[in-house]
Amino acid sequence: MPSIRRVIAKFGNFFRRSRADQDLDREVSAHLTLLEDEFVRRGMSREDARMEARRAYGSVEQAKQLHREERSVLWMEQTIQDSRYAFRSLLKTPGFTAVAVLTLALGIGANVAIFTVVNAVLLRPLPFQHPERLVRIFDDLNGAGVKDTGLSVPEFEDLRDRSGVFENISVLWPVSTALSGGDHTERIEMLGTSFDYFNLLGAQPALGRVYDARDTMPGFTESVVISDGLWKRQFGGDPRILGRRIRVDEDAYTIVGVMPPEFRHPGPTLAGDVELWAAAGFRANPFPSPPQRAVRFLPGAIARLKPGWTIEQARQRLNALSAQLTQMFPKEYPAAVKWSWRIEPVEQNLTGNVRPTLIVLLAAVGFVLLMVAVNMASLLVARSSARMRELAIRQALGASRGRIIRQLLTESVLVSLTGGLCAMLVLWMTKGSLLALMPADLPRITEIHFDARVVVLACLLSVVTGILFGLTPALHGSRTDPNTDLKEGARNASPSLRQNRFRAALVASEIALSVVLLSGAGLLIHSFWNTLRVNPGFDADRLIVARIWVPFPNNPAANKYRNAAALSALNHEILRQVRMLPGVEEAAMGGNRSVPLVNNTVKQVVFSIPDEPNSAEKQRSAEFSSGSPEYFQVLRTPLLRGRFFTEADNLNAKPVAMVNESFAKQYLQGNALGRRVRFFGINWEITGVVADILNDGLDSPPAPRVYSPLYQGPANEMAIFLRGAIDASGLKQAVTRVVQSIDPDLPVYGVRTMREMMGNSLSRRRFSLSLMAVFGAVALFLASIGIYGVMAYAVSQRAQEFSIRMALGANARDILLLALRPGAILTVAGVAVGLAAAQGATHLMTSLLFGVSPADPITLVGVPLTLAVVALLACWIPARRAVRVAPVDALRS
């Protein structure tokens, strides 16, 4: 009966085993001496007495073993023994060990790296209290096919006061602002929120206080909270920052709190992290007062569900409430528009668009590890063939089959643990540069770091991989028959047919796996190629963009550019001066959302077509932006019909508009010229149609878009487009100097070449593509090594056969074909299975593809062809060797 006392004693002995062994030796020899004395006393000679004593005692080794088994934990001692033995035998074959550890380190390391990202971005909960209760709410006009139109203030207040499902709710109003009062005037990302925002997230400031419900007022409060980054950059981390007065878009604010460095707003922003938080009631200046139900100018809302409410329950409640409101306000909610609220988890809103990419990468890297394991299994089978004698001897000496399997498994797990350890070390040392490779717009990228879960995964992955690739070879290796394997005639302990077949099957599955990986990589490469060839609707060559933020003060009286004529004068003056910068050949300006490929939170605006029947009820939506007369010429966007804007399209002229081709096709049956569209309560006459610009990304279809002349509509978010032989590096200073010489309160930001912006817009695609390409290359390499190994071995086994055939008159071509045949069969079988599997696997990638279907013929032909060429090359090298052998040598050996 193993009492607790004995278990403790056993473990104690395990750690003191060398001392316990010495003590036992001493006791055994003392015992023998006493026995010997006894026999001498009975009259034997010393010599005889010693022999007799041994006989009476029995087997010394057996007694010691019994003692060991009784006193300690046997399996632990055996594992240590096995590990030591495995270590020695691995050191004896350094080449094998190095290759094994390296490929395993590659496989495990790649998996750990991708998992670290997945863990941080998708798995780890958001760093807020009860993140599962945080949701985003959107307005959809399902009848018009428009999603996320923004909320109106009355709608927001209904959600807050009448829905009954939210503990807190806050408006999200991301906006560009010009910050002055610090080190220099700068464009920063501001987030307008409700007073409950920080309370809702459960966030505490690092310094000072955050605003809360006690600050409630109709307009903006004076108290603002800043980010750690802004505090350090603009205010030098001044500990006496609290109470500091700053000017944001000409309005005076007071800093009351600084957030800790790890705090980040959990949602999409305009350009970069939020650095300034300000609260408003959204019912007074600068907001329309009184608020109107149909004016949805609030970009979005975040809320915390009451405890106990599921998203589904909340969704039902919101649907009931929106149905009720639709009945109450038929004018604001025409039935055909089918207005409703949509609710989704904050997490999904933040990371939903990278989820498919990351999952595909995780699957791909899993395939790579699987290939590494198969490759290792194949190597180990070859190795256990070479070790057949050793294993046979161990079995003859009494090792059971289970014991041998355990020994072999210890060896493979030791190898893979070493590989895993190397991988972790390399990852740890290179983590900085690896992070730099990540696309910068990846959400939660700052939260990526090693944690306990990653380390546990690495260890688990190593052990499982070790068992995975070690088990079958161990089962094979342990099935020896000492009788035949130890015989002198068993030439070089040649492996059985069974083992060769097993290796062949492994290689075929390697080929199949690499077909799957290469197909994935091929599809992504083809997609990327398509995005590069796509016509963006503008010419990026020698085109540079600089952005300006025109402050929009809460107090209308403080707005220097409230008068559209003032803004128009400002634009003319900026254009006049930038044209004089060195290298500038052409210049244009654009208003809100005029820069292609830049993310914008509110994309669509609602409009109507007045000469259409029931026009008011058919709420259409389109993107809206504005440009100076030169805008399309500088961008080189072709005019399809009508005319460009001119200087004459100003405040004194009738409002005109241009539309893109998609707009003309979708809403006006292609006949756009002379028609009118009604936006912002004004009728605009369409005077021109331009080609589509891919504003939302090179891999997104163009949306219908309307342009107004820059001089007919005010804009705060402005962009300067410059074309010419311009040195981009000094341009930011030059443009800033020009703009601030006209008005020192205008911040210049986002100075980039259009090529750079196109590159950035593809960074995520490029990232997943490069990883997939690397995985594919590794797969191809492993498969070719596997094929080569099996073929080289098969050829060396058949050297005699080939020699006899040649001696009997076969020519070199016959032999070559004969030697190639098994490799060709393997390749064809592997490719066939792989293609079938790839059809299933690549369907998961549909959302990552652009302009290709999962059954892309180029990929489907290219991948097998590549593999066939590589495989045949791997077969051809050993096969050629078969032909070169001189028959006499082969027959003699």
């Binding site: 006392r5 004995r6 003590d23 003392a30 015992h31 026995l35 087997s59 010394v60």
Partner: protein, 114 residues
């Protein structure tokens, strides 16, 4: 030795522990050889064991805390590891003897009845 194996008694698992404990209680501290010699003597060579097989029993008893080991010298000046029964060993001996008697009585009854 195979020739006379039949006439010898195979010691039941666990029984040896009880015998060793009894021997130590009677004789006082004793080394493994002494215990083995004593067992052979009392059983009149009916119970003859390879002396090495005593060790597992000694390890078990020591780990239970029923006996205690100490290095010492014999009267002939040889060193030997002496085992002595402890207080809890004496107590356990009483309980185990009682159990053994019940058990053997039961087995006797069952065998006699058949």
């Amino acid at each position: 030795m195979p020739s006379d194996a039949k006439s010898r008694i195979q010691v039941l698992q666990g029984t040896l522990d009880l015998i060793v404990l009894r021997t130590l209680a009677n004789m006082g501290p004793q080394h493994a050889y002494g215990i083995a010699a004593r067992l052979e003597q009392i059983s009149e060579d009916l119970l003859k064991l390879n002396q090495g097989t005593l060790y597992p029993a000694l390890v078990r008893l020591e780990q239970q805390g029923w006996i205690k080991a100490k290095w010492d010298t014999t009267e002939n000046g040889r060193e030997a590891k002496y085992y002595a029964i402890t207080k809890s060993g004496t107590k356990a001996l009483g309980e185990e003897t009682q159990r053994w008697r019940q058990m053997s009585g039961l087995v006797e009854k069952l065998l006699g009845a058949s």
